[in-house]
């Protein structure tokens, strides 16, 4: 089984966002970059599929040289090969990412393509679906359970207040949600082995259909009414919620 897993490098979720000088991106000073948390579920699922069915796992990332870190993390978890679609800047839109990924994936002709359900920086949740459509393949996103048997796949995907059971056939694209599996911690042996795994570089082409024109911080709230002497303030809190905020 040939499995492709698409990974991206994002600012850690503890990052306090400041707007950079361009006004169009964040100030990266002091920011720690990590593999997108949802991509870890995708990598784990890819490696489990390989362990069960044999085959190989190819990790693909889009970005500058820095994005190799996301591929290396996938290597440590058990991916075999890496491809970096190398861009000069980090300034590209979802369509460009999907289009470049689709072209590379098409040549690889995999059975299963896995993504994290969305990246935690732009939160677009578009790339898995768009890549699938460009490849003419089925897609199921926000997957919490995946069962593959021969050419058939049954996935559970999270929806508001429940889940859907979705049937499809391979090759197909799946977007991983937390709960799909428990991503492994790399051990020393896998970390050592990861160092010799190859990363091929390919050029990235921009096709921009959308353009980010500005970034701003949300309006900060004025200071709230905070009571400091415990349970006796409950009736006053309820009064405020009812009469001032009018929310209950």
């Amino acid at each position: 089984m040939k499995i492709v897993v698409c990974v991206s490098l994002v600012p850690d979720s503890t990052t306090k966002v400041k707007i950079g000088a361009s006004g169009k991106s964040i100030d990266e000073t002091g920011v720690t970059f990590i593999i997108n948390p949802y991509d870890e579920f995708a990598v784990e699922e890819a490696v489990q599929l390989k362990e069960k069915n044999g085959g190989e796992v190819i990790a693909i990332s889009v970005g500058t040289d820095r994005s190799k870190e996301a591929i290396k993390k996938a290597f440590q978890m058990g991916a075999d090969k890496g491809i970096l679609l190398k861009s000069v800047t980090a300034d590209f839109d979802s369509y460009s990412v999907a289009k470049n990924l689709a072209e590379t994936i098409k040549e690889l002709n995999p059975d299963v393509i896995l993504f994290g359900k969305q990246s935690i920086d732009f939160d677009g949740s578009i790339v898995p679906g768009m890549t699938a459509e460009l490849l003419g393949l089925p897609v199921v996103n926000v997957v919490t359970k995946l069962e593959i048997s021969g050419n058939e796949a049954a996935a559970e995907r999270e929806i508001e207040g429940g889940k859907e059971v979705v049937k499809t056939s391979l090759p197909a694209v799946f977007g991983a949600q937390k709960g799909l599996n428990n991503p492994r911690y790399p051990n020393l042996k896998s970390i050592m082995a990861s160092k010799s795994k190859p990363i091929e570089e390919k050029p990235f082409q921009t096709y921009g259909m959308t353009e980010l024109t500005g970034m701003s911080l949300p309006d900060s709230k004025g200071s709230g009414k905070i009571f400091t002497d415990g349970v006796q303030n409950v009736p006053e809190l309820v009064r405020l919620l009812r009469e001032e905020a009018k929310v209950i």
Partner: protein, 334 residues
């Protein structure tokens, strides 16, 4: 010719509130751009139900029967197919020459929007919370980094697919009265090949309200000390008709299901009221809930970051305050 097409979503053949939000927003955008709008829906809703869209200003509703669409499926026993619905909407949009397609950013909307954008040659901007119109062109505002910042996004292609974050835009009644036009899947060239994915079952988690859709959320964190204490959070949620939410710490500890997690690796929510109980307010949690209209914090640590985003707060013991709050609200609700 109308330039805007709104996709209205039903659940169990009843329009969801976000369908009315989408219709109202589409109507406003159409008015600003000096064009008209149409609505398309793929559902087995009754004519009477379809007409409710008219209350929100939809003068023309195009209806594709879900049963009729499903009859094109090669497999039996399917509930619906995201891929077939995306094909039907896209083919309809292409034949009608629509330039702006508006979809609610629900689980359903997010699943069909990328395919529709590719099939119609449109750019796509998801999870929008606002828009501006300059020189006849629309520009969208959307949160990034789970709401830690907002971005403004333009599109450089001629066409655009927009998804709207639920519960942000208002639905406004404007009594227009709707004309319903049935569209057959045959006229849209739908075939077996469009059924790439098929939903065969929908499992509802025991009547619980989902944080992503709730108007009030009561959330608990580490301060509750153990999973059993979440009963206090559930009791308050019950009297408020609220959904229960959770911090990442307690989800990772296995106390609560992931579906309840609010924050950067969980759900981003913007209810009218968010009550944070025993949650200190890690930055990734604040990102997911600070756009709530009103925030109440209950925490024993007066320096907890959650108080910085709270409109109201009580510094004190959650084990005392939660039961008292539940009782007090029971009293006023009679």
């Amino acid at each position: 010719m109308n330039k805007i097409l709104i996709v209205a979503e039903t659940k169990d053949n009843i329009f969801k509130s976000n369908a009315f939000e989408a219709v109202t927003t589409g109507k406003h955008i159409a008015e600003t751009l000096g064009t008209g709008f149409d609505v398309i829906t793929v559902t087995d809703a009754s004519d009477e139900q379809l007409k409710t869209l008219g209350k929100y200003g939809a003068s023309k509703v195009f209806h594709i029967s879900l049963t009729e669409l499903n009859s094109k499926s090669p497999a039996a026993g399917i509930k619906y197919s995201h891929s077939a619905i995306a094909s039907a909407v896209s083919n309809f949009a292409n034949s009608g020459g629509y330039e702006i397609i508006i979809i609610s950013g629900t689980a359903f909307g997010k699943e069909i929007a990328p395919a529709i954008s590719v099939k119609t040659g449109s750019a796509v901007i998801t999870d929008c919370t606002g828009y501006t119109v300059t020189d006849g062109k629309i520009s969208m505002k959307r949160p990034s980094y789970a709401g830690k910042c907002n971005t403004n996004v333009n599109y450089t292609s001629g066409k655009i697919v927009i998804t709207l974050r639920p519960n942000v835009f208002k639905a406004e009644v404007s009594e227009t009265g709707s004309e319903i036009a049935n569209v057959s899947p045959d006229s849209l060239n739908i075939s077996a090949a469009d059924f790439k994915t098929c939903v065969t079952d929908v499992v509802v988690s025991s009547g619980k309200l989902d944080v992503a859709e709730a108007d009030i959320i009561v959330s608990g964190g580490r301060g509750l000390r153990n999973p059993e204490s979440f009963k206090l959070v559930e009791d308050l949620a019950e009297v408020l008709g609220a959904a229960t939410g959770a911090s990442r710490a307690v989800v990772d500890a296995g106390w609560r299901p992931h579906g309840e997690q609010v924050g950067q690796t969980g759900k981003t929510v913007s209810p009218s009221l968010y009550v944070a109980c025993g949650i200190s307010g890690a930055i990734q949690h604040l990102a997911g809930m600070s756009s709530s209209k009103f925030i109440v914090a209950i925490n024993k640590d007066k320096d907890a970051p959650i108080f910085q985003v709270a409109d109201y707060g009580i510094v004190g013991d959650v084990f005392e305050i939660l039961p008292a709050l539940t009782e007090e609200i029971k009293k006023i609700k009679g």
